[in-house]
Symmetry: C2
Subunit: 189 residues, 2 copies
Amino acid sequence: MPTQGPARRADAQRNQDAVLAAAAEVFATTGVNAPVRQIADRAGLGVGTLYRHFPTRTDLVLAVYRHQVEACADAGPALLRDLGSPAAALREWVDQFVRFLATKHGLADMLQSDAAGYHALHAYFLDRLVPVCADLLAAAAAAGEIRPAVEAYELMRGIGNLCIGGRDENYDPGRLITLLLDGLRPLAH
Amino acid sequence: MPTQGPARRADAQRNQDAVLAAAAEVFATTGVNAPVRQIADRAGLGVGTLYRHFPTRTDLVLAVYRHQVEACADAGPALLRDLGSPAAALREWVDQFVRFLATKHGLADMLQSDAAGYHALHAYFLDRLVPVCADLLAAAAAAGEIRPAVEAYELMRGIGNLCIGGRDENYDPGRLITLLLDGLRPLAH
DNA sequence: TGCTAAACGGAACAACGTTCCATATATTCG
DNA sequence: CGAATATATGGAACGTTGTTCCGTTTAGCA
C-alpha cells in the first residue's frame, strides 16, 4: 500500500506515465540512445519534467525494461524445473535473454558502456541475472553436462557483448553463443 | 617514388606527422573517442588543420593503427606455416588480435558502432582480416581439427565484440574466446 | 475561492563535431 | 632576390546533444 507521505499529485503521475510510454516508443524506433528532447516532445512535455521523473537515462531504461528483466530472471528456475536437462534449461534461458537483448536497439551497447552514468544499469542487469545463470551453470555442471570452465559473471558479459550491433544476415549472436555453450561440453576423451 | 604532382608543402607534411603523433598519444591515454580539440591542442594546431589532414575519425584511427592491423594480417599465413597444427595457428593468431584490440581503449566499441561514419573502419578491419581468418579456419577444418561451424566473418565480429569493454579481474575476453574456439572442436562421438 | 507546495516548461549553459573563410606562409618564377 | 600564387592554417561560428535552473503555472486543500 503506497499510501504514505503527502500524496503525489495526479498530474505528476499522469506525466510520468506519459514519459514512460513515450520512451518505450522512441526506444523501439530510434534506439535506447535517442535524444532526450525527442522523448520529451513525444510525451508532449518539457525536458525539465522528464528529468524530474527520471534523473538519469538509466532510470528511464530501467523503468521501461525492468519487467522483462525480471521475467527473464524468473524464467531460470522455472526452466530448470520443467526441462529434463539442466544444460537444455541453460541453453533455453540464454536464448530467451538473447532474444530480449538483441531486439532492443542499442541496449547491449549501453550495458557495457564504460561511461560512468551507465554503471548502475550494468549493475542492475548483472545483479539480477548472474545468480540465475550461476544456478543453471552449477546444475549443468553437477549433472556432468558441462565443464565448470566459466564464471556466470563472465558468461553474462560475454553474451551481452555478442549481442551488440544486433543481428543481420551475416552476423547472428545466437549462433556464436551456441558455439560458446558448445565449448562448455565435456572434452572428448 | 612519390615524386609526382606539384610537391606537397613541407609544413603540411610536418603538421600531418604532428597530428599523427598527438593522436597516438591521446588515443592511448583518453581513448579512441577523445575529443578532436584535445588532439589538436596536443599537436599544437587548430582543429581546421586536423580536419584537413584527416577528414574523418576513421582516417585518423586507420593512420594510427594501420601498421598493426597489417602485421596481424601478415601473421596469419606465417603462423600457419611455422606452427605444426592449423588449430594451434588459429588460436595463436586470434590471441594476437585480441592482445592488440583489448589494449586499445574504445577501438573495439568503435568497430561495431552503427554510426554511419565508422562504417569504413569496420569495413577495413574486416576486409583485411576476414580472409586471413578464413584461411586458418579452412586449414584447421581440412585437418579435421575443427568443425566448419562458423563463418570467418561472424567469428571475427564475435571476437571484436567480446573485446569491448576491455579486461578486468572479472572479465577476460581471452578466456571466452578460448571457449568459443573450444566449441569448434569435433563433437565427442 | 484563495493559498501553498508541487510540478512544469523551456531558456541557458557546456561540451562536442564540423564547416568555412580571412589570414599567413611555402614555393616558384621572373 | 623579391613578388606572385597556390597551399595551408587557425579558430570563430553553427548545429546537436546532455543537463541545470528558476520564473510561472497548477493541483489539492482549507
